[in-house]
Symmetry: C2
Subunit: 207 residues, 2 copies
Amino acid sequence: MAFINDNYPSKVLQDAVAAIGSLPGVGQRSALRLALHLLGQPKENIHHFASAVDRLADDVRYCNTCMMISDSDTCPICADRSRDHSTVCVVENVRDVMSIEATGQYHGVYHVLGGVISPIDGIGPSDITINQLVGRIASGSVSEVILALPGDVEGETTSFYIYRQIERYGVKVSAPSRGLGFGDDLEYADSLTLGRSILNRQIFKPQ
Amino acid sequence: MAFINDNYPSKVLQDAVAAIGSLPGVGQRSALRLALHLLGQPKENIHHFASAVDRLADDVRYCNTCMMISDSDTCPICADRSRDHSTVCVVENVRDVMSIEATGQYHGVYHVLGGVISPIDGIGPSDITINQLVGRIASGSVSEVILALPGDVEGETTSFYIYRQIERYGVKVSAPSRGLGFGDDLEYADSLTLGRSILNRQIFKPQ
């Protein structure tokens, strides 16, 4: 094969493919396809794309209160006086906030941990925003903490760690209900969920 | 919902998601996932990513001879004197070149059209590098042209157009064989391919 540079006819193209291919879930073939798509765009589109990504490095800020990504020191949710600031929903990341906001069912505020405790990945309690959460609760303005963390080992470990840190303040600590999906048939539920939903059965309330 | 800016807590994040989501085959959910992945990287990684993409706009050049993406005015293939410069394989884009090079079976040179004729997309003969191809053939150094274009209507139209432009020069014009895949079972071939492979049957050559 005639190409130097690992089969790419151009080092610039190869570097772009390597950068795009470093994104999670994007293979080398897709990365080449995307790089060639960008290459086929007008130059100003390419500059616009690169600049929009570049600004993630320097222009993103975090809310001083809930640690969510924000354009200012106070995010729109923490700045909203119509929300219930005594109820704090603790989530792993900003995607969780956006998912819960999209339901339109929650009117409290959030606390974004920025991760969960994971010894295998070297992430300890001080690497995420647990101290800031404890500080919010210690200030006395919080009456309920909802631990809306992932249902895996790391998520449960983190929930338990937070629970131990905040139980001394006497706030109510809750978690989202888990069980069969609303409207789901029993036959399609995984057996872990089905079994636990029977054990954790709730009083039937006719609508 | 409390977010201004179309449900994003940050305009910077929203702009990055919009840019990434403009890539073909990348939906809004994936774009958000990728943007948050980048956001979680060290700043220098984000700058490196943005810069690698940005250079596609200004630092990519094209080979003066075959029109392939290149870092210089002559691509490594056209610069390789050990290749057969009298055989020119005409392809749609650089990905086709890379695919053929990866087989290791071809030792001629290429001509990259940069597209195919497509009236629906407003792409005419003068929008792709057909004139440059005709110029190479008119110079008298080419003895065979292989039309390795897509098998769809646009590809066949383009092949036919090129054939009409170059037949006056008396060069051999060929195309890759089409038929059942080598090693394929008949039962898995699509019926168009199977039917045509019977019509275009070739003399059996015992190995």
